[in-house]
Symmetry: D3
Subunit: 334 residues, 6 copies
């Protein structure tokens, strides 16, 4: 997906320029895991013979992401406009994904058998099924097939109220999809809107109640016994420029709570959740049953994401571990 | 329509930036005539509550174009990507107009009675009917209504092969539409593709044959007796950076051929034709029956357009006349 | 007025570039009120046949501000250079307004009868009378005429020590001018320097004393019984990057104190006061006698201003109300 | 003088940016001669305590120009806005020099005895006396004093029609000034407008008549017997992007005509004349009585100026000689 | 290699910015062939744990170039500074390659057996052996090994006078290396300086003599009977902005001369020769024994390179063929 | 030294641009003291005939730094790449100084007698001796000579772990060098690594212990009785964006502790230490025996440095004193 953002905290078109990068939930996760040295493949549908789509593929390839499974079918290149907020002014996203190739894609368009051949993990987000009925059908096909073939399936439930316009409520679709998921990722709003499981959390307040999140994650695990792990990211929004950032993980046996980072000078908050997902997948891979470390890796990874512009999380595993183990004092390295 | 172009003669996404401006046939003409001091109104359909659409309207308003008749209806904001060519490398346009509000618009969406109230001239291009069947229907409604209400109707036949995908051939639609037109504007390819009237002209050769254009324009006037004036722009493409530029006008009585400009260092060629249309409308207004002067004004105006970036022609009538009457030697004014 | 500011927190000419925008007290207010949907006209004197002045008018027009009353008379285009501060480094303004058309303007140059025809409100600042004796005379003419014709007159007393060089002290001129004002706007320094009414407030300390402001505003209302409302903005300067921001309003009967915003990552502080004025005018219009709401609207509006670059406050009334009613937590909207 | 120019061949404020550099006739010459290794001092009057003026001085100092004689007196920093032309669109200059410190300067403000101490050459242009009566008086004082002290005085007569607004015609002032000059520099228009000596040359035609220039230069030498050398630059304006460039020199005994350069892709034409002046001074210094070489050096130097942006000519003597002696084929050096 | 170039035809550091891209002879060729769909691998030595080197690899990967054979060994990241010329001002390269990892590399550092496994073609340039004795030894090892393993070896002899500082003359090294080459690529200067075979061609004149090139290529083939094909590129340097561009190919049986392109508005000339090499390799692959077509493909490809910034040639085979078969009139495609 | 930094908090090559400025320990100090009006000369070795080196010299000259003692000898232009950190992400420096002219320089290359003629102060840092053995020898030669000739010698011990690769430990070299120093400048890490004198301070913790610094500075003075003053800068790293900043000074008789600044929005932290050194030298000059004031001046100066981009500290003594005496509330000055 092409991301178009005005520079320098401007509102759109305040100057005649857009910073043009690529992003989108699953792509961001693939870039993260590739950066950590995990062989990663990104699968989507893009328009054929389209210079912008070609550039998107080239960009992914630059990170070492395998793009050979990307299907080229009629439709547009998906776009989103991003206004980067500051202080009390929130960041705003304008989705421009109508008629995108992925929105027009339907079950059968992707040869999952081929895609999943040799793969061990499949990640999807709640954004793709929000675009269109056929994309939702395709998503469902994907997770079922992945599970069938023995892959671990992770899903970021992320709820986007500006999508979900094709007539179905998020929870109708997502509850079905989550039944094929092993590792659930969400924030409190996602759980509520995508699964209809409510948390006694005031999204706008900015303060956190750990017990509530423990209960909430347990509730999710109970309703979806297929889930082996449910993580919840805990974002305390002081302002668009300053967030507290931590997360918790419930594996049915233990409840892990991560260290909390004060991110006081957010450079670009978008992609933070995907950086968490990428970090979690890599963390579970690196640390095995040590779920606390996996969680800390994910939180540190996504903390770092907030310090650079763009959707993608451009850090190595060594850099993430360095934050995870160190103080985050930001002293110059020279 | 939002125009996104990479800077500095780069190919798309060679650097992570798009120069973002607005443009589009009819909008460009409205800006031109407003710049010449003619009260001008731009009518289109744009998406509601959309920061980019709002910025588009603001930009038009900055030129003094009346935007009060713009309708806001569901759909996308139309976009086109422009790669600016140089030397042997042609400029390339990627249209991204599927599901744009104007593509979804249909007869009845615009209150033409209100729009045309007090107006004397209506201009349309062959681009709008190329987007969708409903936009073609709306275009036809517009010209008929305009003619009915006694407005002079001008039309740039411009043929865009990358549009026209909804199942009709350009000539099917355009021949019907041109029946309600008073002043036809075209290049040789437009005449052939939009009207099916062929000229013995080799588009790619770059050389011009005046007699052929005289015959061609006469042929058009004969087939469409409603046309009072037919102009043909004569672009000699030496390269993407160097064009010869002139035009001819046939009013049924006389055939006028303009001075020819060598535009040797093209800054931005897109919008050149619209600058001609805007100049022609203004020229016919300024010079009345002196069609030679009207034509020269139009050609000088569009010549100047090639020297600045962006779709819009940012010149006053005084500046156009200064070129029209002077040598174009480009000496510093200080 | 043309504003020239180095980019990226640089000092002037650190790189060979100026970000060039337009601004100035009254213009900023007109843009604000136009953005809130209030028909707004900006009146000034600009040089004739001047590309920069034309661009200034076009920019105002883009916001829907009526520019038809702007007079073009000999003189320069006013300029100010702005160095944007950070941390302990203050922002610095270099005024370059000598011989500007508005500085040369004098009573009689503007046809106030025509300007005020159909108008209900007139806003002026203490900056215009600071430029030159003739501009002061013109300002005085304006407020008297406005009052005479029954308009509500608001005035931001803003004191600029780098102007006021033509031989008169600010208070000599401003005390006379304020006699024709209905709604006074100021910070503590403005009250002291423009009116000579002192407050027991240490401007540099950064801490606020509400009682002192209550007393101060009462003192102003007492000395100028024509004033129906006196507002005082309360800026706590922690650093150039972090300000506390609130305001109070005294209408003679009640003293209203607004919510206080911590603006911790100031993007551009200039124009903040004008955003307050624009918000106050719109707030009084929206909320009538509910002065608390009018004040909150004004404070929220100006709070938002600090989050975007440029003098102008590019927000809709809906966006202002959203902050006014919400928590300002800056969560991404998507 | 601060120069503000929109980037990328845009018209002013087409984007919200000005490229900000410094320039101005005499400063440009000082930079040129300093680049050629000649100790050079720039004398002017700039405003005191002014960050932009400080930056101007720093920029000059970076080239090794001695700035210790610059006087700081009240007034503005002079500005000029430059729109860079292309093709048939001419470059345009908007002078903004009213009330500049140099415009307010008057005889006595500069201690010429100190300035000229140890100096051998003084260069002035016809631009300074065009700004104001007092600047004209100061200019006259300067040349007289220079001549008195035995310096060689060179003067570029350059005529600027957009200046000369204080009531005197250029020739009234310039004819007096030129009486103290040893080396005259001009183009045909300058000779006509500044000295009132007419040439049978059509400025706009672009074609040159060598005999006419021979006669013209002889006429100047005859009317001003104090002149030892008169050079005339010969610019053939094909367009704003393409000029032919050569010059001639008449020393009363011989008439020298230089090689002619076709400058087909002008990057920035402003400062071209000053580059000639700087090259001529250096050339006369390097080649002594070999006036042909001196002229060739000057023409080659100014030819190169057209290939870089900004007023200043950033080339070494070696680079100029390399062009002067070579073919100008522009082959990559690596 | 990191390429650092000032923007907008500026001289170095005229503004505080470098456009930073990657390039270098063999890398440019690999990017070209990858763009044409030929599986391509780039082999070099880069410093370990180095963010700039990592970015270089990522950039190559974005084009689909296989980077798995790149060796990471101590040393610097090679850099070159490029000043882009215009008109009579030549482009200038400052090499900064001392102690680069590739300069320190020596025979044995690259496992050629592994590299060449499954490969059919090896391309090298005369630049690598010019850097250091050890790099020359490595180069020689490479071509011998390649030939031994039955690969076709192509070599661009390109002579760089600013390199070759380690004590050997180019021809000493290159004549040995060329003995293992099948396809020679050069311009007239390269033949003379790298092989010591002289052509009666005046490099600076700009005019071409076809017969001389025919004789010259025959002479090369005769001296190096191992060469199956010798091509010579024919650049007519009118100026840094305008070159004529064609080439010839001698296969011992026939002499082929290509169409000549006038490249009148050079955007970036660097990498033009490499684009020829890449085009030639692809052309010989596409057209087999039809050497005329292969040559035309190579010339068209490199012609297009001049129209975009950067070392890399970002065109598809379809785009190259479109120019090769069409007129190069540069008409907008839309 | 050329500094290349990606813009806008990007990681290297995230966009194809480097902001290119100059810097380096001793150069930064020379710029600082020149800005405060102290005649300052910068001595180093740079490559001959090198456009980047020339630009470096020009930049220094722009600040009024005397560059006439700079020696031009073979070698590269030193470079460092800087990634500017934010939040928990540290800034990172990649040194690229192998084979730089200064790295190749050796005793005898600089004529210290000439350099020190008329000078009263010599400043050096621990960075130069870290580059190479010969640079260390040259450094030692310099301080001994300076001391011999009666100059006051100051030295910033700054330890750079990414340099020091030529086989010696920092303390081996630095302990010898510091024996010729009068004024020592360091942070706690420098003292430990460069002198081997340990402090009970946890570098990463961010909290400060004043007593520890008192003891540490006393220890240094005791071991190096030649030192008249030892200062220690106290940086509390909350994050890469927020530092506490203060310093202490021990002159053997008294221990001075400065005011502490909270620098909450760091624009560019690099050069902060050099700004302290420059401020200290100037402060000792301005305030004589009033070491508290000298220290406060140094701390205020370096505090301001953090608010602007680039290595150089672009402030006047008046601006530094204004912060030193005022509150640092950052209120707009206009």
């Amino acid at each position: 997906m092409l991301r178009l953002a005005p520079p320098n905290f401007e509102r759109p078109l305040q100057s005649a320029m857009f910073v043009a990068t690529f992003g989108g939930g699953e792509a961001n996760v693939a870039v993260s895991t590739a950066n950590y040295g995990i062989p990663s493949s990104y699968v989507t549908v893009l328009p054929p013979k389209h210079a912008i789509a070609d550039a998107c593929i080239a960009e992914l390839r630059s990170f070492g992401v395998d793009t050979s499974h990307i299907v080229r079918k009629p439709g547009r290149m998906g776009i989103y406009f991003l206004e980067t907020g500051a202080n009390q002014r929130p960041s705003k996203v304008i989705y421009d994904r109508d008629n995108a190739s992925i929105a027009l894609a339907k079950p059968g368009d992707i040869d999952w058998d081929k895609v999943f051949d040799g793969a061990t993990w499949f990640h999807i987000t709640g954004i793709t099924p929000a675009i269109s009925q056929s994309a939702a059908d395709l998503s469902l096909e994907a997770v079922k097939k992945a599970r069938e073939k023995g892959l671990t399936v992770s899903c970021d439930f992320n709820y986007r109220k500006n999508l979900w316009k094709y007539g179905k409520a998020a929870r109708e679709v997502m509850r079905e999809l989550v039944k094929s998921v092993d590792v659930g990722i969400a924030n409190e709003e996602d759980v509520q809107e995508s699964l209809g499981i409510s948390a006694d959390v005031d999204v706008e307040s900015g303060e956190l109640n750990v017990e509530a999140y423990k209960a909430l994650s347990a509730k999710v695990l109970k309703e979806f016994p297929n889930l082996k792990i449910q993580t919840i990211t805990l974002r305390e929004s002081v302002s668009a420029s300053h967030n507290g950032w931590s997360a918790c993980l419930n594996n049915g046996k233990q409840f892990h709570l991560s260290r909390k980072y004060q991110i006081t000078h957010i450079v670009d908050r978008v992609g933070g959740g995907d950086a968490f997902s990428g970090g979690l997948i890599a963390g579970l891979d690196r640390y095995g049953d040590d779920h606390q470390s996996a969680l800390e890796f994910a939180v540190a990874a996504s903390c770092l994401k907030h310090s650079i512009p763009g959707d993608f999380n451009r850090f190595t595993a060594e850099e993430v571990e360095s934050l995870m183990k160190g103080g985050g004092s930001g002293r110059v390295q020279r």
